[in-house]
């Protein structure tokens, strides 16, 4: 069983080194848009929010993939989501977004050219985003008790809460 990404949002500087490392590792290209992890800028500051798969143990994305299609499955051995691109409706040119909508963190994105969903597989247990993260906003947590399902939320919600934490007050302008 693999671990999970542990994100300290307050430490993220928005450099996107993680995003670049991911794209290079997975796509062998200088192509941040094709990364599995994406860092977005939100609100005053702005604040930088890494959006990445939290490896929810109940896998709402897998459950959302239509019964007849089942392009997504869950690998009980590693714990990551597997994708069979050939089966994916998007491969047939359809605009299905069920996995994206099911993800509490909206962490599923689609490949900018192929169109199929991008799923984080934790690089087989040695995530390159973690290595690339200078400020140590990302770490790889192997503790089996660490379940980040409840932390997996929309980036705007995270940013709202983060603002109160880092600025120490509700009212900011």
């Amino acid at each position: 069983m693999l671990g999970r990404l542990d994100i300290r949002y307050d430490k993220c500087t928005g450099c996107k080194a993680c995003q670049m490392a991911c794209a290079i590792n997975k796509e062998k290209q200088i192509w941040p848009e094709a990364a599995r992890i994406k860092v977005v800028q939100i609100g005053l500051g702005p604040l930088d929010i890494p959006v990445a798969c939290h490896q929810c143990s109940d896998h709402p994305c897998v459950a959302a993939c239509p019964e007849k299609v089942k392009a997504l499955s869950y690998d009980p051995e590693s714990g990551v989501v597997l994708i069979n691109e050939e089966k994916c409706l998007r491969e047939q040119g359809l605009q299905c977004q069920r996995c994206f909508r099911a993800c509490p963190g909206e962490a599923v994105s689609y490949h900018p050219k192929r169109g199929t969903p991008l799923f984080c597989d934790l690089c087989g247990g040695n995530p390159v985003c973690v290595t690339a993260c200078g400020p140590q906003a990302l770490s790889y947590n192997l503790d089996p008790c660490f379940e980040s399902r409840h932390l997996n939320r929309n980036a705007y919600e995270i940013a709202r809460e983060l603002a109160v934490k880092v600025f120490g007050r509700e009212e900011i302008k």
Binding site: C15, I30, P46
Partner: protein, 602 residues
């Protein structure tokens, strides 16, 4: 391996704002190879594409927004350089650099740069989303701050990840030192870049790119950038300067420069600010700091985001750095941290260069103190040292160009000429551009840079040949100038070989830099600069000794300055009057400038 010819071409968007014509052009390989990108290439374009004597604020004036060959590829290679004829001087090159994410985004959209020309009949903004490039109406954005524009455009385009460069009301109203801002606190601030946009009716450029970067030898690039990334990661802790940037950012150095007696105070009369303990050192870190932010790929994160926690500006998000605070805080004798950092944010929002703005405010304060500007002249504003409320009142007038504000909006040189009464002696500028945060009496090397720098006083120009070469390279590769200090230039050569397919060696480093710097000098001469007469410092620097701090009693004696300047002229291949020597121009492939230089020397 990729296709050699294909990889060498740059794709540049040429935007004719008058006619709404948008084209993709390629630049001659020779120029790119010889001038690299950013500042160097911008200088070459400025020479070639603009007519001698052109007014910087007319439609025929052009601006070059250029990335470099490594932008979007390497960590910390996030910067862009905007090159144009300076509206602040009227007769020199102007350029301005900014980091964050905008440059890489342009690369991912598939372009290496943008040429702006013409003047739009109505306010517009430029939208670039990969292949879709269009000028859109900006009537509803005109009058909004840089922050509001950035936000409104993201909402309008329904994508919060657009990167937006925008001018504020200051640029619209043609304040001579208007800036162009992005990501709230980042700006291409110096030389009146925002004024040029205002004159063209251009409110913003929004870009979103989703493509991969094409390179000559992709596996080679990935390897070389990986090595740089590792080095930068280790510099977070292994390099003292790297560590300082990670931990404190650069505004902490206010105190260090103050201790050395070279930090601006009271319009460059002093190099020591007695209120430093309230605004310098760890004060910001302890009271306001919230979190760090970075440019694309950079593991250092030198930008220190924070919030004012007390006083009348409590609740305002801020992000100060040395250059945005030195002239405003110590320069105007402000010893309240909240006021200093908020005022610097105010300048960002309105789209003003905080450096020039702080300088000009200090000038006006000294004029008031000396009775040159009366309360009536100032429309009733009690412009005493350190008076934040008065400063804000004055600044609102500058942005709106009302009364005294209209005079000051022209820059410190023109303002002092308009005010007269000896105020010219209090105007601390070179070639019409306001001094930044160092006092030459307390730091002669800074003074020398101020005088010889091609875009007017700039402590980024470098005081030695080696420093200058490094910095013009950084601005042309468009890599961060902090990073450049931490990295062996050979690394950039390896990256250029793999990214561009160039056969380039370190031996070219000094030659290329010299070519770029001499061209800028030749351009200035073409536009009317007389080096011997214009590479000078205001009289105060030579005659009025500092009275406080470590350098109390110091001036930068005129004779010493002249000797320093002469030494530099010689080292830089110029004659004793600062004009590049003909044989030197030939040697560096600048034959096309020779007729101009010959005409000048005759």
């Amino acid at each position: 391996m990729g296709d050699y010819m294909k990889q060498l071409s740059l794709r540049i968007l040429e935007i004719d704002l008058s006619e709404n014509i948008i084209e993709v052009i390629e630049l001659p390989h020779k120029w790119v190879r010889e001038y690299i990108g950013g500042r160097g290439l911008g200088t070459r374009l400025l020479w070639e594409r603009t007519k001698q004597g052109a007014n910087p604020l007319t439609p025929e004036a052009e601006m070059y927004i250029l990335t470099g060959p490594l932008t979007g590829v390497i960590p910390g290679g996030a910067h862009i350089c905007l090159t144009f004829k300076s509206p602040l001087t009227g007769n020199t090159i102007g350029f301005s650099v900014t980091g964050a994410q905008w440059g890489p985004e342009l690369k991912y959209a598939g372009y290496d740069g943008i040429i702006l020309k013409g003047k739009s009949p109505k306010p517009v903004y430029l939208m670039i989303k990969d292949d879709v490039v269009e000028l859109r109406d900006a009537g509803h954005l005109w009058g909004t701050t840089t922050w509001q524009t950035q936000q409104l455009i993201k909402e309008e385009l329904k994508d919060s990840q657009f990167k937006v460069l925008a001018i504020g009301p200051a640029g619209e109203n043609l304040v001579s030192f208007a800036s162009i801002g992005q990501e709230q606190f980042r700006a291409a601030a110096r030389c009146g870049s925002g004024t040029v946009w205002g004159s063209k009716g251009l409110k913003a450029v929004a870009v979103r790119g989703t493509n991969p970067v094409s390179t000559f030898d992709l596996p080679g690039v990935i390897k070389a950038r990986g090595e740089l990334e590792k080095l930068m990661l280790s510099n977070r802790t292994n390099h003292p300067r790297g560590y300082e940037l990670v931990r404190y950012g650069n505004s902490i150095s206010l105190t260090a420069h103050n201790d050395e007696g070279r930090l601006v105070n009271k319009n460059y009369r002093e190099g020591y600010f007695e209120g430093i303990s309230e605004v310098g050192g760890l004060k910001y870190d302890l009271r306001y700091f919230a979190k760090s932010r970075s440019c694309s790929g950079c593991p250092l994160g030198c930008m220190k985001l924070g919030i004012v926690r007390d006083g009348i500006f409590a609740g305002n998000v801020v992000c100060p750095d040395f250059d945005s605070t030195a002239n405003i805080g110590p320069g105007c004798n402000i010893s309240d941290l909240g006021s200093m950092v908020y005022l610097s944010r105010w300048a960002d929002e309105q789209g003003l260069d905080a450096t020039s703005l702080g300088n000009i405010t200090g000038f006006a304060m000294e004029c008031y103190e000396k009775g040159i500007l009366s309360l009536e002249d100032l429309d009733g504003i009690k412009l005493e040292w350190g008076n934040t409320t008065a400063i804000l009142e004055l600044w609102r007038k500058i942005v709106k160009r009302e009364g005294i504000g209209d005079i000051l909006a022209k820059g410190v040189k023109c303002a002092s000429q308009a005010i007269g009464k000896g105020s010219e002696k209090l105007a601390m500028h070179c070639k019409g551009v306001e001094f930044p945060g160092f006092v030459p009496q307390g730091g002669h090397k800074k003074g020398l840079q101020y005088a010889i720098s091609d875009r007017g006083p700039c402590h980024h120009y470098g005081s030695t040949i080696d420093e200058q070469n490094q910095r013009v390279w950084a601005d042309s590769l468009t890599v961060c100038s902090w990073q450049r200090r931490l990295v062996d230039p050979q690394i950039y050569m390896d990256l250029l070989q793999t990214t561009m397919g160039w056969d380039i060696e370190l031996s070219e480093w000094d030659i290329t830099a010299e070519r770029m710097l001499l061209l800028a000098r030749a351009y200035n001469i073409r536009e009317g600069i007389i080096p011997e007469k214009d590479d000078v410092l205001p009289e105060r620097v030579h005659t009025e000794p500092l009275t406080t701090g470590k350098k109390a009693g110091s001036v930068y004696p005129l004779e010493k300055f002249k000797a320093d300047r002469l030494r530099w002229y010689k080292e830089r291949g110029c004659d004793e009057t600062g004009v590049p020597k003909i044989e030197h121009l030939e040697e560096f492939g600048l034959d096309f400038t020779i007729p101009v230089i010959k005409k000048f020397t005759q």
